[in-house]
Symmetry: C2
Subunit: 457 residues, 2 copies
């Protein structure tokens, strides 16, 4: 994978002379992303592209080439790959569609690519891929613009939608590998690479089909002991499985069998779109959760009921708070206030102010031996009600008591902005729904069990 992720020299075959909006010029994108290695454009109709000398074909370059990125019509691909072998290229990415994702001709062409890889030792990524992104090396082969941010998130996917739609799926990508139709480089290569990479702390995988099932399971089992692995397996429905075969040409396989086997390895399994983004930030930033007992601090009794419903839905429990915890909040509350868990602190807020009431409550539950994790329900108020914003004071409490996960749900006109404030120091994570809060805590409990089982605590 090294030649894909950290190449020193790259040949771009079939690169367009057009640049700017609408050209999808991956050379332009690669330069803009900051790649500092050598770039050799290959286009028989040009002598210069974007200020660099262009070559008629890869054999004409006569320099060491780590990686070739090929974006030419499908019928030319096999010939070009053979030229790459001759030119001593180490790795190739085939960007175009029209292979196992298409008709019988395409399937035969892809078969040919697999054979070249096997026979001649050229590693091939794709076809039908945006290639790779490596934010630790300022490198990408994507023809769509990518966000630059060094985050310890490794992504493996079978579709460019996870690159372009990073905002929806993993928020950011530190290092990403789109295996596309996976004619050669597959999940095992990519997982092994990211598993061994010390810069990557969480691995998120989008999987349509899986060929090397046994090898992958063994690898996953080993890697989950060191870092969390999240798998979003699509194609669970009958039509989804059919579509998976037509999309990446891969067998989507039997969902139930995969799910059972992969779950036993300790990976976090995702079934719905929208969950991966929560899983990634949760596992990256929050401590694992030792048990299933959750304390809830809320401005609203109604939200306490909603979170109770969703905690139960995700296999967690409302903790029985210790008498000391109850007492510390009771001191601030009116005498008539029935206190328990969820801990409704609105009356205390009205009497003693938001910061005092909320910080005392959070400190009490974080110290409570009957509590494994905490949910904070908070308000994202309009600006003139900013005294209701508890993000700063709660981050302070959490800093002093870092062992238990704290997840927040924020409601109100500025919930988005206040959510970002909660997350700014990565001590408390905020989620758009209480259901997402509960699910996220549940995977922290699952993760804790995996680490415990493997003696990693």
């Amino acid at each position: 994978m090294k030649y894909f992720m950290e190449p020193e020299s790259v040949a771009l075959i079939g690169i367009s002379r057009k640049s700017g909006p609408g050209s999808f010029n991956l050379m332009e994108n690669m330069i803009r992303f900051g790649f500092s290695g050598k770039i050799f454009p290959v286009n028989p109709n040009s002598t210069e592209i974007l200020g660099r000398k262009a070559y008629p074909d890869i054999k004409a370059i006569n320099e060491k080439i780590d990686l070739a990125v090929i974006s030419t019509p499908r019928e030319t691909t096999l010939g070009i790959l053979e030229d790459c072998v001759v030119a001593g290229v180490k790795a190739a990415i085939v960007v175009n569609q029209g292979f196992a994702d298409a008709d019988t001709v395409g399937k035969a062409l892809q078969q040919g690519m697999s054979e070249i890889a096997k026979k001649d030792g050229l590693r091939i990524l794709g076809p039908n891929t945006l290639g790779v992104i490596n934010n630790y090396n300022d490198f990408t082969t994507s023809f769509m613009p990518m966000t630059k941010e060094q985050v310890p998130i490794g992504l493996i996917c079978q579709s460019g939608i996870f690159f372009v739609g990073a905002r929806e799926f993993s928020r950011n990508i530190g290092k990403g590998i789109d295996i596309g139709n996976a004619c050669d480089v597959g999940f095992c290569d990519a997982l092994k690479y990211l598993g061994e990479d010390p810069e990557i702390r969480v691995i998120a995988i989008h999987m349509e089909g899986l060929n090397q099932g046994k090898k992958f399971l063994e690898l996953a089992e080993k890697i989950v002991k060191e870092k969390p692995v999240i798998i979003y397996k699509t194609g669970s429905s009958e039509r989804g499985a059919e579509a998976a075969i037509s999309h990446s040409g891969s067998m989507a396989g039997n969902y139930q069998v995969y799910m059972a086997a992969l779950k036993q390895t300790g990976v976090i399994f995702i079934e719905k779109d929208g969950q991966m983004v929560h899983a990634v930030k949760t596992l990256l930033n929050l401590p694992t959760m030792k048990g299933d007992r959750v304390a809830v601090i809320t401005f609203s009794g109604a939200a306490g009921i909603m979170i109770s419903d969703s905690l139960e839905r995700h296999g967690l429990k409302i903790a029985s708070l210790s008498p000391e915890t109850i007492e510390s909040v009771a001191k601030l509350s009116p005498e008539w206030m029935p206190l328990g868990n969820p801990l409704d602190i609105w009356p205390a807020v009205m009497l003693h102010g938001t910061e005092k009431a909320y910080s005392m409550a959070l400190e009490a539950v974080l110290k409570d031996r009957n509590v494994d994790g905490v949910v904070c329900v908070a308000i994202g108020p309009e600006n003139e009600f900013s005294f209701l914003d508890v993000s700063e004071v709660l981050k302070g409490v959490r800093e002093k008591l870092p062992d238990k996960p704290v997840a927040a749900w924020i409601y109100g006109p500025n919930s988005g902005e206040i959510g970002e404030r909660f997350e700014s120091t990565k001590k408390i994570m905020a989620y758009p729904t209480l259901d997402a809060v509960s699910w996220s805590l549940s995977i922290l409990k699952d993760r804790h069990e995996v680490l415990a089982r493997n003696g990693k605590l």
Copy 2:
């Protein structure tokens, strides 16, 4: 309910002399909201509050008073309500907590309130409520700031969180009634009012417990024939039900029994927080869906697989597109492209541009007799890739062919902004996940069945 929602004169009992941030002064909030009727502040320690003459008690006012809003310590409440009866007040809102939501004293006080309402004909809303909001009359009794917008959305809730957190639950509120602990005014009164209100086209309800079950069911059955009714019933878990009793003092009741009975009336039942906001905008803006056959147009094969999974999860099907539809997209696609549903138009986009390919595909599926509803997967690109933004062209197509619902999911760096553009003319609604898209279409199918069953098509 008229005296609560459209009062001409209001007495505010126990109003603070403090105003500005942190004072939670509902008089200040009411004036700022634009209420044009008479306001009589009542506070024995002041002669003037916010520039208006203050009265020592309600009996001293000597004018016709439609509504009294009471925010005084609980032990004073019964006496004040009796004064209201003497003063001929029509309706009263008791804002404070500490009644059936609290201890035995509080329960007895609330019982006393119910008796006053029954005996003396004074209608009482609350206790433990923010009261009401009426955006068609610039009126609110909430001490928290409320958003001003005339939307045909009616809300009934048992907690102020649905007022303050409108962004999360219903986005906006046209007319809202927080029944709180419901000592007198309950779900039936509120539902009847909003059901008969021609300005309200969708009713969203948050329900912890329900006393007048039979009457409510009959009412709901009648109203759902005219407008959609959404119920988010909380307290489904054991602990949630316990918490419901402690919160609003109401019996959360047997979830399963409610659910079965209410579902049969044709209400849209919600189980998770985060769904109400989708349900409200879906039922308000999109046409109902005649059947379960959904066409998907996508830039991404992977997204097509994901949506197939989620459609099946929510009881919908991938439509079998007619040969004409396939043909119209095939004309724009490479020869090798396998076309079906989901309809992957990326190759067509690369060849013919985004607008042409996407608008032709949408027109074809909207005209296809095998299709009941449509999902559009689209990109929210960075500014320089704005040619990939199809919001305007799709809205245009939808305008010409308005009979089937079109729901969009947008991914990419500007997905939020492009989502708003999609929704700007209310012809296409955008959702944060494909799962939410599928669920939202499924309730449009449910709604269609209710209307069909009742001969309302």
